[in-house]
């Protein structure tokens, strides 16, 4: 999965979790949770959605890597062997 695909996946899963959230609203220095007002349950739903989409378990210790858009794209790319 390349960066564009990863971003697309992140965007589509995010849309399922929080239909009114938009990745474009997240600045480069912001966390997804803060910028999009996600609570811990939304964030968990996002992780579950991503994990199911790529068929890979995402351990809790990896959550911090998913906190920003750039981080999440890099993480998804690396876990799917792309990049």
């Amino acid at each position: 999965m390349n960066a564009d695909q990863a971003r697309q996946l992140l965007s589509s899963v995010l849309h399922q979790v929080a239909p009114d959230a938009d990745l474009d609203d997240v600045g480069p220095d912001e966390t997804l949770q803060e910028a999009l007002d996600l609570d811990s349950i939304d964030f968990l739903n996002l992780v579950v959605g991503l994990s199911e989409s790529i068929g890979v378990d995402i351990p809790e210790r990896d959550y911090p890597e998913l906190s920003s858009v750039e981080g999440a794209i890099a993480y998804l790319s690396s876990r799917t062997g792309g990049g």
Binding site: Q16, V17, P19, D20, A21, S40, I41, S51
Partner: protein, 455 residues
């Protein structure tokens, strides 16, 4: 007394429109009676009168908008000047058969005795079809009160419809609902057929309507999928209004008291971390699940926190349906119920909670979830808020708030340490419980959170 004027229903209100008069000239009014409904830009409100008297004339007709402070009606003190209109409650001629029409000024007797009742009560009785003749007044001097009529309305529901010799009820063949519930539904614009009844035989009762009215408008915004900007703004405004009206009612009617305590959540956090190591990603737990479960279980020890305050009485609820406040981005909040939260195994509770949150975001909540929370939990911790002082959702009687988890210096067993802590608050209804019981409730939540494995 004298002039009854357009009240100010908020700092930003400049004018209001009379949408209904519940009294007419000659009517006797008592302090606290609702005499009119007023529509403002924000909502429609029932307006009470603050002194006893007799309505002399209505100055402003229905449909007319006037400024705050304008005279709406002239009201005379009860003892002043002779009456020009027949006065309510005039003694009926002895032995005359009771005449009951439900119309103002014509109610004359129960078992030959004079009936004294306010116009508002008469209005209510005629609207919901309660026979005043059959009522026994419990007010001062045998006066029929609002609650007498409302109680009777509930009784009417249970009685078989269509007594012999009676015309068929106009609502025959429609959804099973109490007359009072119908009236409320009409008032709040709630489609009664859409409601799941919790009354006898699945009939819709007032509680169902109230609950739906409270959340219906709020759900509008949440229920809407992405919509054009114009209507989104409109939906937000409507929701803001609905929340405003509900919260204003809460603050107006419910004597809140507030308690706060700090709970050490180290045990809960440790337990969660260990439990999640063994759980697949879609079965992992978050702290809010433990908070909801602890709240639901604590209700067993302090049942005064769980139920509804209706018609002047607290009706405790055996089931514990925890309303979970979920913010809707762009404005507003909805609090659908997690049913029987006290009975759910923690993994199951987590699944349902995350499902509930996801569906709330997508606008796919079920009517039953919207209608019947018995207590509400709000968790603003994710937004970094330290302490929440919540407003109770009527007709519920308590709201529990949790803030963010933060490391604090805590003295424990004579040693100072850094522990993750959370602030827990309860806003509770003083008509139902006192601070002592509220404190007991928070202490129980604390105790339960120290034993997370038992949740």
């Amino acid at each position: 007394m004298g002039d009854f004027t357009m009240p100010s229903l908020g700092a930003d209100m400049e004018a209001g429109t009379v949408t209904e008069w519940l009294v007419k000239p000659g009517d006797e009014v008592h302090r606290g009676d609702i005499v009119a409904t007023i529509e403002t830009e924000k909502s429609t409100m029932e307006i009470e009168i603050f002194e006893d008297g007799v309505v002399e004339d209505l100055v402003v007709p229905v449909g007319e908008q006037v400024a705050v402070g304008a005279v709406l009606a002239h009201v005379r003190a009860p003892s002043a000047a002779p009456l020009t209109a027949p006065r309510t409650g005039a003694p009926a001629s002895p032995g005359a058969p009771p005449v009951v029409t439900g119309e103002a000024g014509k109610v004359e007797g129960v078992h030959g005795k004079p009936v004294v009742l306010s116009p508002v009560v008469r209005h209510l009785a005629s609207e919901i079809g309660v026979d005043l003749e059959r009522l026994h007044g419990t007010g001062a001097g045998g006066r029929i009160t609002r609650s007498d009529v409302e109680r009777a309305a509930h009784t009417v529901t249970r009685a078989p419809e269509g007594r012999p010799g009676e015309a068929p009820r106009p609502d025959a063949g429609r959804a099973r609902a109490s007359p009072y519930a119908r009236r409320l539904a009409a008032e709040h614009g709630v489609p009664i057929h859409s409601l799941a009844g919790s009354g006898p035989g699945g009939s819709v009762i007032a509680r169902d309507v109230r609950a739906a009215a409270g959340v219906r408008a709020e759900a509008l915004r949440g229920a809407a999928a992405p919509v054009p900007a114009g209507s989104a703004t409109k939906g937000r405004t409507a929701m803001r209004r609905a929340i405003g009206a509900l919260m204003a009612r809460s603050k107006r009617e419910i004597p809140h008291y507030y308690l706060a305590t700090t709970i050490d959540v180290a045990a809960a956090a440790d337990w969660l971390e260990r439990a999640n190591l063994e759980r697949p990603v879609n079965a992992r737990l978050v702290l809010p699940a433990l908070l909801v479960k602890a709240t639901a279980l604590a209700v067993h020890k302090v049942p005064e926190m769980n139920g509804f305050f209706l018609d002047g009485d607290f009706a405790p609820s055996a089931p514990v349906h925890v309303g979970v406040a979920i913010s809707v981005r762009g404005g507003g909040v909805i609090a659908p119920a997690l049913h029987d939260a006290d009975q759910l195994e923690i993994g199951e509770l987590m699944t349902r909670l995350s499902d509930l949150v996801a569906r709330a975001r997508n606008g796919r909540l079920r009517a039953s979830e919207m209608s019947d929370p018995t207590i509400t939990v709000t968790n603003l911790g994710d937004l970094g808020v330290e302490t929440v002082f919540g407003v109770i959702y009527p007709p519920q009687v308590a709201l529990v708030g949790f803030g963010r988890v933060s490391d604090r210096a805590v003295a424990r067993d004579g040693l100072l340490g850094i522990r993750p802590c959370i602030s827990a608050t309860v806003s509770a209804d003083h008509r139902v419980s006192d601070g002592h019981r509220g404190g007991r409730f928070l202490a129980e939540i604390d105790r339960l959170l120290q034993e997370p494995e038992s949740l």
